[in-house]
Symmetry: C2
């Protein structure tokens, strides 16, 4: 057979196969409702009972519009009025960052509120979680979330933390409270926990049910660098530990009615924040007695066996002493977390077991390296700290 004919036949076969694949309709359950974190009055995006996201945007002259979520770009379809609509595959329950792609431009969806994550302010979607009641806005006494601006001499810059004070804080001018220092992850900032993290609502609900001790929560920005002198090249070393110990904690103890001792201080963080805060507590056991690592440990990203003699300068070598010094040592991980988190946290746990160090381990069912894992982690962790059981 003539080679050209062979090519044409092959092309025809290929186009049939591709055509078949494209026309294969996905069965979508038609029970979509507007997402709970849409802007006021906006009907889109919507979510359905399968966890699919349906986006919609008017773009009459666009050639191609896509919904970009969970690392997948889903083609949207234009109607006669120039309005594009399209659905994603089912997403895990909880919160996800996403965006739209219009003829190659990645932009926020004008229907949603915006959240800081993945290094930018952008759209977020909430797939209703089976256990969402624990972070729901309820008619219980609510604490305040206060924006606290300060000038840092170490970084020579203005910085900001959000401070949660529990309901009742203002009523009695004498009561003092323990403090949890709670950190975000990489490419996030101090708005993460009071925003998509719902740290305030989680504590409002826990405190109303008397499941957690009323506490202050301080949420600062984990990125802190010395001003560069012009000769330094590349990314400078983090001075966040120094800012935390010598600037943030003294400021909080001066400004708020804290119980200013190690037994009444906890530190926790997610992902990069878990890594950072583990180093901070181990270097400052005179300052903190409780640690929470949500989806992260300081051996990240390695999954190799940890040598306790050398890891963090041998800080985990003497298990007996640590068990006396640390009140709560807590680790959490989602069952669907990607590499390297399971391996890295697993290696850390092996070391803890080998050294005989007490810790609590929690698994968030069906969630990955995302905010529902961390909301659940805070919910669990906050119930254990400041109980003075040791």
């Amino acid at each position: 057979m003539d080679k050209r004919i062979l090519i044409i036949v092959f092309a025809l076969l290929l186009s049939t196969v591709v055509g078949f694949a494209q026309s294969e309709k996905v069965k979508v359950v038609e029970d979509f409702v507007p997402c709970s974190i849409n802007q006021q009055g906006k009907q889109f995006p919507q979510v359905n009972s399968e966890g699919r996201v349906r986006a919609q945007i008017a773009a009459p002259e666009a050639l191609k519009v896509q919904l970009d979520i969970g690392g997948v770009k889903y083609d949207m379809v234009k109607d006669a009025n120039g309005v594009w609509t399209g659905e994603s595959g089912p997403q895990d329950e909880g919160f996800h960052y996403y965006q739209l792609n219009i003829d190659g431009a990645s932009v926020p969806d004008p229907g949603t509120k915006y959240f800081y994550g993945a290094g930018r302010w952008g759209s977020g979607i909430e797939i209703p979680a089976s256990d969402r009641e624990f972070y729901a806005l309820k008619d219980v006494p609510h604490g305040l979330v206060c924006e606290n601006i300060y000038f840092s001499k170490i970084t020579n810059s203005f910085r900001r933390c959000f401070v949660y004070t529990p309901a009742g804080y203002e009523k009695d001018a004498k009561t003092r409270y323990p403090v949890l220092y709670l950190q975000h992850g990489s490419f996030e900032d101090e708005t993460g926990w009071p925003g998509q993290g719902h740290a305030n609502l989680i504590l409002d609900n826990l405190i109303a049910e008397q499941k957690a001790v009323p506490m202050i929560i301080v949420m600062d920005n984990g990125y802190a660098y010395k001003p560069q002198d012009g000769e330094t090249t590349g990314r400078p070393a983090s001075v966040f530990e120094d800012v935390m110990i010598t600037e943030i904690i003294p400021m909080i103890d001066a400004r708020f009615r804290t119980k200013a001792d190690r037994n009444n201080r906890a530190i926790a963080g997610l992902s990069m924040g878990a890594n950072q805060t583990m180093r901070i507590i181990m270097n400052n056991l005179d300052t903190f007695s409780n640690y929470g690592g949500f989806s992260g440990t300081s051996n990240y990203p390695s999954s190799d066996e940890i040598d306790p003699v050398t890891f963090l300068d041998g800080k985990f070598n003497d298990g007996n002493t640590l068990n006396k010094q640390i009140d709560v040592f807590w680790l959490g991980l989602g069952t669907k977390e990607p590499k390297p988190f399971p391996g890295s946290v697993g290696a850390f746990r092996k070391m803890m077991d080998k050294q005989g160090i007490d810790y609590v381990y929690y698994e968030s069912e069906g969630t990955a390296h995302e905010w529902l894992t961390w909301r659940r982690s805070l919910y669990q962790y906050a119930q254990l700290i400041f109980q003075n059981k040791k």
Copy 2:
């Protein structure tokens, strides 16, 4: 001559004229710098010394991208890499809402932080104002801005206000403070004043310079409606006054250390908020003694002569009594405000003059119905209230 030839000649002439108009280059001063309210690390949008805005976005497959600001859409131009760039005409100094238009889709610019206004969360640009020092972030003692969530029985919904407490509020548990209730405009919300309004920074700076009395500022949402019973059609009547008087004020007086009397309460608002708050103070002179109307009055949108006997049920009829009751009555307007504001505020002032009612009138030079007018108004107004000069 053949008509078809005539048409072709005409078309050629027209295309030459259009081509000439399009190629007419606008002289743009090349001193653009990234805007002060860009997202961290974002190089665009930029502003230059003329007040032009230069936007940039990658949209390789787009056919048309525009910068949409101040009611004008400016065409952007694509380079070889698919990156579109374009400039606006000179804008007034201060803050403006804007958006990008990509093949017919109106979307936020991914380079900016987002602000609520014009009924949506979207992009904002800041053209550096000659007097921007008064709302700049400086190394002075900073107050807190606290998010206060509450359940409103009147509206049967959760509502939120932001509460500014001045620096030093936490230090002395006995000092009590006067309170300014400060309202946003139409299609804005409670985030306007602590966000693009910089109410906290304006007061931080004023208080640091001892130009204003340390005060609490409460910024709530001016939209409040009774739950609809199913039979009601159309937009229900506002119950904001009722929410303010019977829910917000008692809550603030219970939660914060306020001076809870009329001499220590002020109410002010911008545009729709000026209209609302004028009605509220005139109906509640036992509750407030200071009023600020920023770019608005309750006769809006009318520019007709006001009859003091009928206007607001004759509340302005007895000038002598009002002069004793009201400590500060303050009105402000930008010199570039569009209709109907100058006429409407002008008619109101004529009535005030006729009735012999004392008031302060301020003009913001070179600004329209926008946030720089209102920042300046707050700056002026806050210096006059709670001075106990009467």
